[in-house]
């Protein structure tokens, strides 16, 4: 399968899903007007990727500056897919990366962490 690359806009994040190095990154801002439309190819890609994935280790880096409430739902759905895969033996680590002075993004990370049992979900403070 091919890597997924979506360039950032003012209100959508940069997405680089690299299936050769098993590095998946979502970085930037996320508050599109039509959330389902923007994330449809992302979900399509990840479902296929998880199906083909064997026992390789996957790192998912989430580095969001701001995301709206409907993006938060999308991320939950995304993590649920990963958590389900982790339950079935896939080795997946999510790094939730936040700025030192951004309490809300940290809190979102903590709340996501609480929701998942199988997924290795780490909170990572960005070096300033």
């Amino acid at each position: 399968m091919e890597n997924l690359k979506i360039r950032a806009t003012k209100y959508t994040p940069e997405i680089i899903f690299d299936c050769e190095n098993d590095q998946l990154e979502i970085r930037g801002e996320s508050y599109p007007e039509n959330i389902a439309e923007f994330y449809a190819p992302v979900f399509e890609w990840i479902e296929k990727y998880l199906e083909e994935l064997d026992d390789r280790e996957v790192t998912v880096n989430m580095e969001l500056i701001y995301f709206n409430s409907s993006s938060s739902k999308i991320f939950l759905d995304f993590f649920e897919l990963l958590d389900f895969a982790a339950e079935n033996g896939k080795k997946i680590t999510v790094n939730w990366i936040y700025e030192a002075d951004d309490d809300d993004t940290l809190e979102f990370g903590v709340e996501f962490q609480e929701d998942f049992e199988s997924l290795n979900f780490s909170l990572v403070q960005k070096d300033s």
């Binding site: 709206n68 409430s69 409907s70 938060s72 739902k73 939950l76 002075d101 709340e111």
Partner: protein, 186 residues
């Protein structure tokens, strides 16, 4: 109106309002409003997390206007606009009083939505931070109801980030419509 414009501006300033927009709201406009407000708060040396909260309130509110305002620019005014065949109209204001930023937002709604909104917002007003957090997680897991065009989490997110309960008001316009206003304090 020409003579009154200065009075109008002064009136806004007296109420602590330093930004006000009334008219058609688009996604691009909201991005620019957000960027300008961020810059303003940066220049005033507001704490980054405060600036982000103000920004997030403006985004949620403006997207509420875009999705739910019952006052639209009719199709014939905007030929050939991308993917969007109508614009939603609303009013958004941002101010500062008593050492807190606040966001005001208003738009027309259908009268039949008054009861549902009252119920939702009253419920949120009564919740403390822990209850809001729990409710947010529950709703996020459950997913939106049929009436929602997003995740149905906007008001809960705002209530979580606000320093005071969200205030709201309805004003009857005619037999079909009401005007819905909210105030969130950061």
């Amino acid at each position: 109106m020409l003579q009154n414009l200065y009075d109008f501006k002064n009136d806004l300033n007296r109420r602590g309002i330093f930004f006000c927009f009334s008219g058609p709201v688009s996604q691009d406009l909201l991005v620019e409003i957000g960027a300008t407000l961020k810059l303003k708060m940066e220049l005033e040396e507001a704490h980054n997390s405060v600036a982000l909260r103000v920004f997030s309130m403006v985004v949620e509110q403006a997207q509420n206007v875009i999705h739910y305002s019952a006052e639209k620019c009719p199709k014939e005014i905007l030929p050939g606009s991308e993917k969007q065949d109508e614009l939603s109209i609303g009013i958004i204001a941002v101010g500062y009083e008593g050492e807190h930023y606040f966001v005001l937002c208003g738009n027309r709604i259908h009268k039949e939505d008054v009861e549902r909104l009252t119920e939702r917002l009253t419920r949120l007003q009564k919740m403390d931070k822990e209850e809001l957090k729990k409710f947010y997680k529950e709703q996020r897991k459950k997913g939106p109801d049929d009436k929602s065009k997003g995740a149905g989490l906007g008001f809960i997110d705002m209530a979580k980030k606000a320093s005071q309960p969200i205030e709201f008001d309805f004003r009857e316009i005619d037999e079909k419509f009401s005007f819905f206003s909210t105030k969130t304090v950061i």
